[in-house]
């Protein structure tokens, strides 16, 4: 080497205060010159150097958010909440794809059989989707990290609610989009909304005692039986759960189940599954 970077410039370089074009020149030179690197090591602030390495290290292995997590971050969701939601099974593409497929089939069926006053199949299926989605979001059978999560200081009910709200928003959003595809029915096509909230909150409240698999199964089965009974007595008209009175009952059930869920919230803080 015929020249070397001055010690003063090396100090500025170490502090990150050297400006271009001297910076570019020093950068290239230091890469090739062992003597200047040795001087740089002596004049550099070791604390600042460690901090710089740490920043670089953090930059390199900080998780790059996936599509869904990135979307949540853009919507203003806090980073740690977005990460918790990214681990929710019912918010994965496969589940959401299945929901879209079911809704499309029920919408097509509604168009094919437009002889009744309301799209019965669609209204019957739509409330089950958030129920199933929430059921798939937690519990030892479906959440691979359930056992680690249940002994973590974050309250189990809080984690459950974070996931539930996200799943309900996603499911109801898709249900809502499907409703827009049935404009001919007017507001009657929205009669799934209150039953959906009633089934989901009842399923959650019962899962505190029956577990995350049996409870939604019981609620879903009960919904099916109710529809069969309503169909038998409807005489060709709108099924009872989708009438104004039925909607009132659904709203009352949703409110009662929400109150019960709040009362039993501490049960979600303990392991809910078989033990060896």
């Amino acid at each position: 080497m015929t020249w070397h970077v001055s010690e003063e410039d090396l100090r500025a370089y170490a502090r990150g205060e050297l400006a271009p074009p001297v910076l570019w020149s020093a950068d290239t030179h230091v890469t090739a010159c062992a003597r200047c690197r040795a001087v740089l090591a002596e004049v550099g602030d070791p604390v600042a150097l460690d901090a710089a390495w740490e920043r670089l290290d953090a930059k390199l292995d900080a998780p790059r958010p996936g599509f869904f997590e990135g979307l949540l971050l853009r919507l203003g969701v806090a980073g740690h909440t977005a990460r918790l939601l990214a681990a929710t099974p019912a918010l994965r593409g496969s589940w959401l794809g299945a929901v879209v497929a079911v809704l499309m089939m029920s919408v097509v069926a509604a168009y094919a059989g437009r002889t009744t006053a309301s799209p019965t199949l669609f209204l019957a299926l739509a409330p089950l989707l958030p129920l199933a989605g929430v059921a798939l979001s937690y519990g030892p059978a479906l959440d691979p990290t359930y056992e680690m999560a249940v002994v973590s200081p974050m309250h189990g009910f809080r984690l459950l609610m974070i996931r539930t709200v996200a799943v309900i928003v996603a499911s109801l959003g898709l249900d809502g989009l499907a409703t827009l595809a049935l404009p001919g029915y007017g507001l009657r096509a929205l009669a799934w909304l209150l039953p959906a909230l009633a089934l989901t909150t009842t399923g959650l409240a019962l899962s505190a005692r029956l577990g995350p698999v049996l409870a939604p199964s019981v609620v879903g089965g009960g919904w099916a039986l109710l529809l069969v009974a309503a169909h038998a007595s409807a005489d060709g008209g709108t099924l009872a759960p989708f009438t104004a009175a039925g909607q009132g009952v659904a709203a009352a059930v949703a409110a009662l189940a929400a109150a019960l869920l709040f009362l039993v919230r501490d049960r979600f803080d303990l392991f809910n599954g078989s033990a060896a």
Binding site: E54, L60, L84, M148, V151, S152, F271
Partner: protein, 286 residues
């Protein structure tokens, strides 16, 4: 020394099964091994001590806190590390992302501090080089180390490990034992295992469980001493032995009450363990 865990009279029933039967124990700093056959109640005890499952009867404290209250339970969980028997992973997460996820569950919400902690624990289990790899592409041993790293987040004072060496090949098992030994420095570790070698190599104390009850609580040397004068060699299976098996040299190794003039052998921890299980059923008849 003040015990990290102090439990007395713990009972728990699942249906008609008595999973824990009047279990009392005190755990102090260092690694304590929990030995027992399948169905002995080891996992149930670990889940109770890890605050995942409440006991029907009895009381216990962890790090001076009572997990019977919501506040006490949360305080315990803040200082607890737990590696379950079959740790689950979100398959698309990298090692870093998974430990980061667990760190969020452990209330580390500040991104910078959390990422520093994640790097620290991955470094502690020698996984810094693969932190960006997806978990589904890691070997079984590496996955187990990722789970251990997750358990170490927040520098817990009480570490509960449920059969962490199951399914690992001998080399991975040795490596994992080194990590457990390191993790046991300065904290209390409760290690459930089927392997007497784990206990012999790692533990300053051993608890043997069978049918939900504690059958032995002492040092590994004391457990081994239980078999002194009760292990012998024979050319044929000795029908009077409580357990007997053919060794690699072709002779039978028997434990129990030796016949007069028997060729007595030096006892091992495994011999003491088998004799302790005598009458408890499950794995003695070899």
């Amino acid at each position: 020394m003040t015990p990290t865990v102090s439990a007395s009279g713990l009972c728990l029933r699942y249906g008609g099964t008595r999973a824990l039967d009047d279990v009392s124990l005190r755990l102090t700093q260092g690694v304590t091994g929990l030995l027992g056959p399948n169905g002995a109640g080891k996992t149930t005890l670990l889940r109770v001590l890890a605050t995942a499952v409440p006991a029907d009867q009895g009381a216990f404290t962890v790090l001076g806190q009572d997990p019977g209250t919501a506040r006490g339970r949360q305080e315990v969980r803040r200082r607890l590390g737990y590696l379950p028997q079959t740790p689950g992973f979100h398959p698309d997460f990298t090692a870093f992302e998974f430990v980061d996820y667990v760190a969020i569950l452990k209330e580390l919400t500040d991104r910078g501090a959390r990422h520093r902690e994640v790097r620290r624990v991955l470094d502690e289990v020698d996984l810094s080089d693969v932190r960006g790899k997806r978990i589904k592409k890691l070997s079984g041993g590496m996955r187990q180390r990722v789970a251990l790293a997750a358990a170490l987040v927040g520098d817990p004072g009480f570490l509960v490990l449920d059969e962490p060496t199951v399914g690992l090949d001998p080399e991975q098992r040795m490596r994992f034992r080194e990590l457990i030994a390191r993790a046991g420095e300065g904290r209390t570790v409760l290690l459930s295992t089927h392997q007497t070698e784990d206990v012999a190599m790692l533990c300053h104390r051993v608890v043997v469980m069978a049918a939900g009850a504690v059958r032995f609580d002492g040092t590994p040397a004391e457990l081994t001493a239980r078999a002194a004068g009760r292990v012998w060699s024979s050319t044929e299976r000795d029908p009077g032995a409580k357990a007997g098996w053919r060794t690699g040299l072709g002779a039978f190794r028997n434990v129990g009450d030796p016949p007069p003039g028997a060729d007595l052998l030096e006892p091992t921890l495994e011999d003491g363990y088998l004799l302790t299980l005598d009458g408890a059923g499950t794995e003695v008849a070899v």
